[in-house]
Amino acid sequence: MKLKRIFTAILAGTMALSMAACGGNTDSTTGSADGEAAKPEKLVVWTLAEDLKDFAAHYTEKTGIDVEVNVIAPADYPTKLNTSLGSQSDEVDIIVGEPQMLPDFFDAGYFADLSEFDSAAQEKLVPYIYEAGKDSNGTLRALSYQVTAGSVIYRLDLAEEVFGTSDPEEIGKLFSSYDAILDTAAKLKEKGYCIFGDTGALRWFANANTPWVKDGKLQVTEDSLGYFDTAVELYQKEYVAFAPEWSAAWYASMAGELPVNAGWTALEDIEEGTPTTQIFSYIMPSWGAVTIRDNAQDNIGNFGVCEGISSFFGGGTFIGVNEYSKNKEAAKDFVEFCTLNEETSEWWIDESNGDIVSMKSVLEANKDYENPAFGNQKTYEFFMKQAENIDYSLITRYDTEIGNAFGTAIVAVQNGEKDKETALKEFYTTVKATYPEIEVPEA
């Protein structure tokens, strides 16, 4: 009998525990507004890149508050955030998002109101950063310490050899339109060089002047069709090196020669005697410039930056506060420290060895800095101008999936599997099936 009671008690305990485990987060919001400890023992950050580890260490040094930073792969990040914050968990205090993730996160109510920083952010930060951090009602919810304005990064020596000049203004003209890009590619090919690693480099200009979706309608414009046709022609005429971004050969190209047609193959698996070429240019956001600098080896200093068809930006870490955090005020202090503090912004330029910060005054103070990695070009001045030209209204929450579907259509035509008309028709079908609320030209 006694044994039976003990057994029943254990079972009841197990059931109670499992129920408690299921519903453990339900009252986690209660401590968020009032009665907060002035100095929490620890702040927890979930982020997408390693950067915030440095910021956290700097913050701990200054304030004594411990900050635990967990870096989560971008592909897993939305799921992790939705799973945790969907149940109103307070296990994290500071959360982040890339621009294309932010509208969904804002709608879900995960990012706390940062209106108290509104005027400071508007005054101090590059305009598109301030715009990107606001939700659909205009409430500020996230801020970034960096701008990720894009550029065409080109090889100075190859520019001199093929075009007789390496001046950014002149080289910019070679990338000012799709026709100009095709001419440039042909001239480079004559000399044995490739304009890009891969045709995907052009994707940044697909919606250069019009968003993919406007007033609920899919916009397939001259820009996007120009990208389509140019990508196909560059591929079919073999004007590119067939080394996709982030492949081993693409990294190797920054230091000089790379094998032709390497694809994703590891360099050690490529046969000896494979013909080689050199890549003239890379089209990337400002973090791409840092990648190139870090992989250029002896080629460092042999690059320049210029404008392409239009100004653009890509990626960037926007920081906010978990709506359900119990340490909201302290978390807001961390966000302010990372994004609105001039001393931190100056520190980050040194610490990151060249990241482009979002604070206008700091960019202005550094605009005359001549960057030795880029032939002593004034890169801060350049990126500051690019960032000012960015039109944030071109960004929509549909961009990633629509961009991928458009890429699929381009590849099908490049391979010769489909003609342009069929591929575009399938693209419209894909968009319509994925987002029934979007009106497409034909489906």
């Binding site: 694809g263 599997e417 099936a433």
Partner: protein, 307 residues
């Protein structure tokens, strides 16, 4: 009186023992309710809403199901799944059958059945991620070993982009599936063969039946139920094909969406496009299709038993 008391006690003891049975089942029942029944019911509920994976969920009733039946991409993905499964099952069963013929032949008396059974089953034990990486490396367009071998043998003159075209990419996935699963089918077929009464073979030998006559007149007909079982359970698994196409296409389903399978498509809808309600409806549509296939299995099995 004492007898009656004894009977009551015995009855009480018996009831108490029955109750203990229930207690012992409880941990399983609780786990099953939490981790199996609840998710299924929750998915069913979600399929009637516009839930995005966050925020509010509003009832849209059958809108998601209507959309699923009209969604050309879902049905394309379903057809892709059937194509890859179809080729896979032909190769998988064909190879397993061939090996069964060799190993079950009483005249050959092949040795080392246990060893070969283990060897053939090995690909099934390798993680899908490793298999996908291995085949992606082997089938690399310009520098992959497979193309190099074919070129050295003079079978092809130019390297073939196996994973770059819809048809070849689907064939590759089917072949990988067959390679991974033929060992499993072989074990089942061999178990079937070993269950056949040896007297049939002895009688056939006495009557002067040859090797092929014995195989087609005795082994094949008696193996038929096992083969149907293997084919249909493989269909049920095949309809849930996800990992290899997902890994081989880097999560994009390309070339030309040919590697999108039904489950891959619903995964993307739920976790990439944040349309959980619709993904739940797709899951239930698939569930119905799989349930119909399962019903076919039971019907075929029962018919055999009745005979």
């Amino acid at each position: 009186m004492e007898k009656k008391k004894g009977r009551t006690l015995a009855r009480n003891n018996s009831k108490a023992r029955e109750r203990w049975g229930f207690y012992f089942c409880l941990p399983f029942v609780i786990t099953f309710l939490i981790f199996s029944v609840y998710p299924v019911l929750r998915t069913l509920y979600m399929s009637f809403t516009d839930y995005k994976g966050y925020g509010q969920e509003n009832f849209v009733w059958f809108d998601n199901y209507t959309r699923a039946f009209k969604d050309p991409l879902f049905w394309d993905a379903f057809v892709n799944t059937l194509k890859m499964w179809g080729l896979n099952i032909v190769l998988q069963l064909g190879l397993a059958l061939l090996l069964t013929i060799i190993f079950s032949d009483i005249k050959y008396r092949m040795r080392g059945l246990s060893l070969f059974r283990a060897l053939f089953y090995l690909p099934n034990l390798i993680a899908c991620t490793s298999v996908a990486f291995l085949f992606k490396t082997l089938l690399d367009w310009k520098f992959g070993s497979f193309n190099q071998i074919l070129m050295q043998l003079g079978i092809i003159s130019e390297p073939v982009n196996w994973l770059g075209y819809a048809n070849t990419a689907q064939i590759v996935v089917a072949v990988i599936g067959a390679w991974m699963w033929f060992g499993n089918s072989f074990i089942m077929l061999m178990a079937g063969v070993q269950g056949i009464n040896r007297e049939y073979y002895e009688a056939a030998a006495i009557d002067g039946a040859g090797r092929w006559k014995t195989f087609f007149s005795i082994t094949m007909p008696l193996l038929k139920p096992i083969m149907i079982y293997v084919a249909i359970t493989s269909l049920i698994g095949g309809l849930q094909l996800f990992d290899i196409p997902y890994l081989m296409s880097g999560g994009k389903g390309d070339p030309s969406r040919s590697l999108f399978t039904a489950v891959f498509y619903l995964f993307n809808m739920g976790f990439k496009n944040r349309q959980m309600g619709y993904a739940a409806a797709l899951a239930f549509v698939l569930f119905v299709i799989i349930a119909i296939c399962s019903a076919v299995v039971f019907k075929l099995t029962n018919r055999k038993e009745k005979k």
